[in-house]
Symmetry: C3
């Protein structure tokens, strides 16, 4: 099954790709590596969650925020490649989790992204990963995700 | 116009490339990707600004610090490639902004780097980007920048 | 001398490669770049140090933690490539150091990783580097390291 068919099967609808609000671009391709700009948990044009893990948000809310941010990244990747079927594999995911003092469950939060990637892409969705605790994030987002994706070469 | 000519036109003078103070190198080339070590806002041999955004520094000061750190990165890139004209494009920029509690305008700070890149490199200066809030940075720097640059292949 | 022989000479014994506890993988190869998942200072199956630099841990302890985390990364790299002799060079190292308020000596901590890499790999161990201050890290680790490694092509 293609990835685009898989999205339909999972009834996942991607949001509009977030537009950079400054002089940068949503993603940049170098060779067969697509570097995606940082994505936040935007849903229906606004941040689905704000605040920090370990104070205003629960791990479950953080997990959902990570899932929503991932949908934003996929929207960018589809916009860049025309179709998600040109994704060869998800190479690396870094999850920056806004963390209040002594919060140490960043991995459980970033799982919201990792689980969705494997759900959609299967084995090719398995990625190298970092989970980190940020002091603050833009717009008081609870999570910002960074993706590096390998694409299928054009000639295939 | 070449990038080196553009620098002259903009009357931009690059500082000496910062020297690593430990067992690492200013930049590392893998294939056609140049990974640059983290750069801080050094000017005239000392940090142009210290402190955190959201407490001791304004967004405007952070913006200027980002611009100065970018000049340091360009100095490293020129040192590695002999000339900035061997830059194919700026692939990704990550701005780590030292952020006091509840500061959420990291993007406005990192714009100081993004704007300068586009001013110098034009379309090829447009990059994927992350803006993040760091708890602390080396030497109390307000910003540390990370660059990935694609270079023009040797045979060209 | 091969890298594996060098490890023997230095009497360095790698720990078991840490196993991801979620839906990600220890490392991901794209072309000749190996992206390693974040490593923590695990030793004998538990965290060798916990806490933050600038409060509960000294720079010397952080340095040792960085060294131990590096051994974990090397264990992953050997597991992925069968042998460390397939490492072409260490491209980039990022050290995320859990930092209490006003701690600014992240570079001295990350030197624990950089020094070991050069000790083992010589010139090919010299890498681009970032040293950053994280608010919090998984499992209260004092450091998390991120590696990008270039591998020797298969055909050699």
């Amino acid at each position: 099954m293609s990835i685009e068919q898989k999205l339909l099967e999972l009834q996942l609808i991607l949001p509009p790709a977030p537009k950079p609000v400054a002089t940068y671009v949503p993603a940049s391709l170098a060779g067969d590596l697509l570097f995606v700009s940082g994505v936040l948990p935007f849903e229906d044009g606004k941040m689905a969650f704000t605040g920090k893990l370990g104070s205003s948000l629960t791990v479950q809310e953080g997990y959902r925020a990570a899932r929503i941010a991932t949908l934003n990244a996929l929207a960018i990747i589809r916009q860049e490649l025309s179709t998600l079927d040109r994704v060869q594999k998800i190479v690396r995911l870094t999850g920056h989790v806004a963390s209040a003092d002594s919060f140490a469950e960043q991995p459980a939060v970033v799982n919201g992204a990792s689980d969705l990637l494997v759900e959609i892409f299967g084995l090719e969705g398995r990625h190298a990963r970092l989970a980190l605790g940020a002091a603050e994030l833009p717009l008081h987002a609870p999570i910002e995700l960074e993706f590096i994706v390998q694409i299928v070469p054009e000639e295939k």
